[in-house]
């Protein structure tokens, strides 16, 4: 119950920030919208547009109207296109979910065998390779790697129709890149957790009973590793939002990031507010959910996450 109240309180704070902050951006959305509509930016036209958008009401009334609409599913109209915000976001959402969600899922699935392999023989080949992989992922800028990958797979090797192919062709490589960038830190965390578990007394007991190191880790270290992975995945979701944006731009994917870029340029507060609120909700849900699962599984703090 406390967690739920805290989540609601956080979302309320986020909604306040989301409502007020875009309005502090320099640039007048009315002027930009008039340009888009081929109308002269006369004071009369600006006033008419502000009345149409009901911007002349007090800020409190505007906020109340916006929050009510947000909760009831009426997200308003895009200031740029005049179309419902839901219609602007709807067709783009599957692309972003496929890349971001698919990437983190891929990373979560692959980090376990890779981290396990690295932990079985610290300083062995698998351990060195995953360390190298982790360092490479942390040092190579994602935008550069994405552009290079797009050029290599598309123009140079002609393996994929990245821009005009079917959805699978278009999503495969961006998803893989997002996954790889998330995989690197997760693998090291899993590896460290397995190593830390290997030093515990119960593992030594398992070894004394005749189990091999791999068997012992596999059978007895799974729970702390899963808890550590859960803890590591939570902040990784924050990176996913930014990382997905980078690859969407590099691969010309018509996802949410392109819409956000256009909306920032045209000061489309309606779209920006819904987008930021959506990201804030995702974060609150992910953090609250992860905390809930952790507390149910094992209330003790995780000690092995690097």
């Amino acid at each position: 119950m406390t967690a739920l109240l805290r989540a609601v309180f956080l979302l309320w704070l986020a909604s306040l920030a989301v409502f007020v902050l875009p309005a502090l951006l320099p640039g007048n959305p009315a002027l930009l919208a008039l340009t888009e509509r081929n109308q002269a930016a006369t004071p009369e036209n600006v006033a008419a547009l502000k009345a149409e958008w009901r911007m002349e009401d007090g800020l409190a009334r505007q906020y109340a109207r916006w929050v009510t609409g947000l909760v009831s599913g009426d997200w308003g109209l895009s200031l740029r296109s005049g179309r419902p915000v839901a219609d602007e976001i709807g067709p783009r959402l599957p692309w972003s979910i496929a890349i971001g969600g698919g990437g983190i899922l891929l990373a979560a699935l692959l980090c376990l065998p890779l981290g396990f392999a690295a932990a079985r023989r610290p300083h062995g080949i698998a351990d060195r390779l995953t360390r190298l992989f982790s360092i490479a992922a942390q040092t190579a800028p994602s935008f550069l790697v994405a552009i290079l990958a797009a050029w290599l797979f598309s123009a140079q090797w002609r393996l994929l129709d990245l821009h005009t192919g079917g959805p699978i062709q278009r999503v495969a490589l961006p998803l893989l890149l997002v996954g790889i960038y998330s995989l690197a830190p997760l693998t090291r965390i899993v590896r460290n957790c397995f190593v830390a578990a290997g030093e515990q007394a119960y593992l030594r007991t398992a070894l004394a009973k005749g189990l091999g190191p791999g068997q012992a880790l596999h059978r007895h270290a799974g729970r702390p590793v899963m808890l550590a992975l859960l803890a590591a995945l939570t902040p990784q979701m924050t990176w996913i939002v930014g990382g997905t944006a980078v690859v969407e731009v590099a691969f010309a994917i018509p996802g949410l990031s392109q819409l956000v870029i256009e909306s920032v340029a045209t000061r489309d507060y309606s779209v920006l507010r819904v987008y930021v609120m959506g990201v804030a909700t995702l974060m609150v849900v992910v953090h609250s959910g992860a905390e809930l699962i952790r507390s149910r599984l094992d209330p003790r703090p995780v000690a092995c996450a690097a």
Partner: protein, 488 residues
């Protein structure tokens, strides 16, 4: 061998392709796409005509001539109204005939909804005389109704549950922000010979160049100049052509320093347009408001004379100090050159313009704004680099009236000249093309004398084409990219 195996494995793994990927079609890359199918909204009419979906009553052809599209003629009646006669036998994409009543309804709707459709002649009243003839009255008179009806807002459509157009293609699917599938309009002549077109929108030209390089596109329209050597090295044909857009620099006459015509003329005189053309690796120095090769272009190049420019500034009281910078009454001559990123060439031109003006002793800073509209409308600039199609309907009246008449909507420089206004009034009463060319020439000379704007360049654009569209011939702009002869 190993590459073949990888390709085979990839093909098998990615077998879940949409059927459209297997269909013979043309794939065209562009950096813009209609966001709406309603010509009443924004610039949708322009984009839809460019995509080959919509047509107007009149249009400007490849040679810059005003010709009939859905209409045969427009004649002025004795009462000052215009009678437009349409071509017989034309149909909308749903098979219904194009009647005068349908045309009148669509143009009246657009004129009501879209401010751009009122720019030249204000509010229109339209009535069908019979099935093929249409009478038009306008709030403001025009001697060239055909040219007005060739302006981009005036797409003809029939309003069913959504607009239905008459062009050679119709929209089968519109994917917001991504692309659209075009299929031949079965009610357009030679429909059976046309292939479907996938129109793919790219957020930037570089990504589009990669897609062309990868063989994913049959055509990429308006490629960035930096990508050209790479494409040519791979044997991809690139067609370069001068466009109807003109690059110019507005001088804000409301600014204190620029309110003196001598200062503005000095700035105009010091500009080396050949150097500017070199900077963007394409295009030609502009002789005036209209591109070379059009009936309204001027023959004499704009002069570059640094000595005369220096003399003008001296006369205006802006004298050089010991540091070489000019000042007047202790106030330095500092100006800001503004550009916007939607036309990357303009940003490229900024440092070159700064260097040329600095040589004159002017302190120059550069600024890039996110969007051009608010800056031009508010007048919050000193010098504003700008790109605009000056002959969108094949007639100079649209540009000259809209940008130079005192108080006009696009008069960004705040220019006001009784002489120019009188000449514009005269232009409004002339129907013959040679006479209109002569008067527009006079107007341009007056503009040169006052220099509220410096015409800089006629830019060149670049279109990359694959073997399937090797015969594609770009027209002088992006108004008609996909046309009835596309791919035939």
């Amino acid at each position: 061998m190993s590459r073949s195996i990888v390709r085979l494995a990839t093909a098998l793994a990615l077998a879940a392709l949409p059927a459209s990927a297997q269909t013979p079609r043309f794939t065209v890359g562009q950096t813009f796409m209609a966001g709406s199918t309603d010509p009443g909204e924004g610039s949708a009419g322009w984009a839809l005509a460019s995509h080959g979906v919509a047509e107007k009553l009149f249009m400007v052809d490849a040679e810059g001539r005003l010709v009939g599209s859905l209409a045969e003629s427009a004649t002025k009646d004795s009462d000052g109204s215009w009678v437009v006669t349409m071509k017989p036998g034309r149909k909308f994409a749903d098979g219904t005939p194009v009647t005068a009543a349908e045309v009148a309804a669509s143009l009246a709707r657009t004129n009501e909804k879209n401010a751009a459709a009122r720019a030249s002649i204000g509010k229109m009243t339209l009535e069908a005389i019979d099935d093929t003839r249409l009478r038009i009255r306008s709030e403001r008179p025009t001697p060239v109704m055909a040219a007005v009806l060739a302006e981009w807002p005036f797409a003809v459509y029939r309003m069913a549950d959504k607009p239905v157009f008459t062009g050679p293609y119709q929209i089968a699917a519109l994917r917001t922000g991504d692309g659209m599938d075009l299929v031949p309009n079965p009610n357009y002549p030679d429909a059976a010979q046309r292939k479907p077109v996938l129109l793919k929108r790219f957020p930037d030209g570089q990504t589009m160049a990669v897609a062309l390089e990868a063989g994913e596109l049959d055509m990429a329209f308006n490629l960035p100049v930096e990508a050209l050597p790479r494409l040519k090295a791979r044997g991809i044909a690139v067609k370069t052509f001068l466009v109807g857009y003109q690059y110019m620099m507005w001088q804000n006459t409301r600014r204190e320093a620029l309110s003196d015509p001598r200062v503005r003329r000095a700035i105009d005189l010091v500009l080396d347009r050949a150097e500017l053309a070199t900077a963007i690796q394409g295009g030609e120095p502009a002789n005036g408001a209209f591109p070379k090769g059009t009936p309204f272009a001027l023959n004499d190049p704009r002069p570059t004379d640094a000595a005369a420019a220096n003399r003008l500034l001296d006369e205006a009281g802006w004298n050089r100090g010991s540091d070489g910078r000019r000042a007047k009454d202790g106030k330095p001559l500092d100006l800001v050159v503004t550009a916007y990123p939607q036309r990357p060439d303009l940003v490229t031109l900024q440092p070159v313009v700064r260097a040329q003006l600095s040589a004159l002793g002017i302190g120059v800073r550069t600024r890039v704004v996110e969007q051009p509209g608010p800056i031009s409308s508010s007048g919050d600039f000193d010098l504003l680099l700008w790109a605009v199609h000056t002959l969108p309907a094949g007639d100079p009246g649209f540009f000259l009236n809209g940008f130079f008449r005192a108080g006009a909507g696009n008069n960004y420089s705040g220019f006001s000249s009784a002489v120019v206004d009188r000449l514009l009034d005269r232009l409004a009463g002339i129907a013959s093309a040679p006479e209109r060319a002569a008067v527009s020439g006079e107007i341009q000379q007056e503009i040169f004398a006052s220099a509220p704007v410096s015409f800089l360049l006629t830019p060149a654009w670049h279109v990359g084409v694959g073997p399937k569209l090797a015969g594609y011939r770009p027209w002088g702009a992006d108004y008609h990219i996909i046309r009835p002869d596309f791919g035939l």
